[in-house]
Subunit: 429 residues, 2 copies
């Protein structure tokens, strides 16, 4: 990886620079809106829309007068206009392609294509970063060595093998994986491209924020979803946080726009909310061992990423949701939006729909803002939520939502994860 | 319903007229392309990409020379560029909104809004047409009476109740349902809006073809998927056929363009391929009793629709696929495209991927065309496939793809359908 000391600073303009580099290689994924999701999110009980007898939309359609009437009561509802950034349609099915292409183009810039091709790149990952790096490297005919735990599921190994023949197996602990990576570096001179804890990765992922802002302006121009108040800007953007590359990059992009608050969303299962817990203890939590269905978010926040996440001027706060809330959200996304989003990618919307603290916070800010502007403030918060990836399978869905006895018992015992992996220890990326 | 004798003729220009009327009320759904699906469809064995160890894409990437080398051998592969019309993103989750809005706006035009409001509209359907008519009617504050078999699933009843309070239950046979409809007509003076067998419905559904053609031109302009040969036109368009409204409308739209062939796609399970069988016998088959997972395609082709389907100058042919082929296709759409498309909506792509007759026919036509043009013809067929709807549930997916013993046994015995309905008799729409 490029030496961090040679990297561009973590600023919005560096993200613009990263975007110029990676734009030819990535998809500009759509920013999707949905009136029914707006209504559901702005209703008193979003889970009611998952019942066999959901309420009619009329009753859920946000009515500005409701809030005005509710006045200062704590019963005021949060009002949302949602914008979904569909990175499930990104190359390899997740935002990770952005960071990987940025890391690889920066390496080429710094060392020259010949040296990078001679040495190759290496990483350890059983997830989306593995495929992303293999794709980015193969695009420039650079060898990619991917170290994967031998217990990885067949489909993930096969997915990575689509782009590189060099999949190398290791044990599943951090030490075992890192030993294999060290061997590859020693033997081949390969350059390590970590999944999240590096400026080039963070800047690459930050291009999600850049694109979202651009697309909000375009939408506003077409009147597709009418903007109120002072025009096209997000009141809030919320992304998943695992290692912290996506949240770090997005928060960096919006850091010069104090009116856009950036939030992170985590699963709470088995302590996977290490970010939120770290903020409470005022120090980064270094180890996570969770089998949350949001398998992309099982990692602890990275060292460099933590400096951004813990900076209140960049990240306004972190919120966590339960496994059941993630499942309910995934079902709404599937059945209402007709989109396949993996559990990790559903976590931000789960926070909007189900996290009571988040919803109270939004309602309260909206109340204060209305008072300040004598009721003339905009009635909704325009909230961007990042659907970070779509890499799940029919088999995983059947296990998560099926009534088969075996699957149900295993789920309850916490011994099976959404992708069928039986045992995972703080897997990266 | 408007008296057929007062309806516009079944021509492309009537479809343009229909589009002007319904455009304010429907979504212009996206036309989606996918390099990986192109490669899979153009490979020798598309099902290999569903194995735990799929081949790398390189081996599937269509290579023009392959075909030239294969020369006149019968081994030549068909080569596809696919365009998916995403009616799963349409209002109420299916193309049926188009026909329903056209039927209702035509009624208003003919009888005046006051009379239509006084009398209301009525239909019998347990499927997407029920919701579509209820939505279209409620948009103009017209009462909608929807007759549904009392065995309909809770979610479908609830879906229809979102838009109308007037859901009326009946027995599940045609006779029982029609008796209830007759009662409503007698009592309320309500106007019947049938699900497919009427010119206004056919013209409304035909706007799918109009939009696809427009979007292909736009795509071609941006160079998003490069057009070869004589520019932006479909070599073929393929839609599902149940009652025949969508296929009839689409074939009508392209009827003045002999270079674009229109095909229909059906499930073969338990005789649901009544269209194909009817063509062989040279007469419309009047009854179908199938529990195919493609539950929108369990109906026999309508009388008026049959006149279009049986007209070789409009519909080039019908092809059928098995339940397993539909399931494999739905998995590819879900896992590769990240889209939720209901089984009925996957049937056209299933024909492209798995129907041997269809694939041989395309390869043979491509060979002949190359010979005629001395090898200078375009290398691919540009094929539009309509993803007609996305109304399925997580529960249905878990039943279809799960390993739960009960579900599997019931599936094998053919006693359970994808939506959990236990018994269905030629349900319309």
């Amino acid at each position: 990886m490029a030496d961090p000391s040679t990297c561009p600073p973590l600023t919005p303009s560096s993200i613009k620079g990263a975007y110029t580099k990676i734009q030819p290689y990535i998809h500009k994924t759509p920013l999707v809106t949905s009136r029914s999701l707006n209504a559901i999110a702005s209703s008193r009980d979003p889970s009611a829309f998952l019942s066999d007898n959901p309420p009619p939309f009329d009753s859920a359609e946000p009515d500005v007068n409701d809030n005005v009437d509710a006045g200062q009561s704590s019963d005021a509802l949060p009002r949302f206009r949602l914008y979904f950034k569909c990175e499930n349609f990104q190359k390899i099915g997740a935002f990770k392609a952005r960071g990987a292409f940025h890391a690889v183009t920066r390496l080429i810039e710094e060392l020259g294509i010949d040296e990078v091709r001679r040495r190759g790149v290496v990483t350890h990952s059983s997830g989306n970063h593995a495929q992303a790096l293999a794709l980015a490297a193969s695009t420039f005919a650079i060898p990619a060595y991917i170290v994967m735990p031998s217990i990885s599921t067949t489909s993930k190994i096969a997915g990575t093998r689509l782009y590189t023949p060099n999949v190398i197996f290791s044990g599943s602990t951090s030490d075992e994986r890192e030993a294999v990576v060290a061997d590859v570096i020693k033997e081949k001179g390969a350059i390590l491209v970590p999944p999240y804890d590096h400026p080039d990765i963070i800047l690459g992922q930050g291009t999600v924020g850049l694109e979202m802002e651009e697309q909000l302006r375009e939408l506003s121009g077409t009147g597709e979803q009418s903007m109120e108040g002072d025009g096209a800007r997000f009141d809030a953007v919320i992304t998943p946080i695992g290692g912290g590359g996506l949240l770090g990059g997005t928060a960096t992009f919006f850091s010069s726009q104090p009116d856009t608050l950036v939030f992170g969303a985590e699963p709470s299962f088995q302590g996977a909310d290490d970010g939120r817990r770290g903020l409470l203890q005022n120090k980064r939590i270094e180890h996570v061992k969770s089998l949350t269905i949001a398998d992309g978010l099982r990692t602890p926040v990275g060292v460099l990423n933590w400096t951004i996440v813990a900076d209140k001027s960049k990240v306004e706060g972190l919120y966590a949701v339960s496994e059941e809330e993630i499942k309910m959200t995934m079902r709404l996304v599937f059945e209402r939006l007709k989109l396949v989003v993996e559990p990790s990618g559903c976590v931000p919307l789960a926070v909007v729909l189900f996290n009571t603290d988040f919803r109270h916070m939004v309602a309260e800010r909206q109340r204060v803002s209305r008072e300040k502007h004598g009721g003339a403030d905009k009635a909704y918060w325009d909230v961007g939520a990042v659907f970070s990836g779509g890499n799940t399978t029919m088999k995983a869905i059947a296990t998560l939502y099926g009534e088969g006895k075996g699957a149900k018992a295993e789920r309850e015992a916490g011994t099976i994860s959404v992708d069928g992996t039986k045992k995972v220890e703080d897997v990266a990326g």
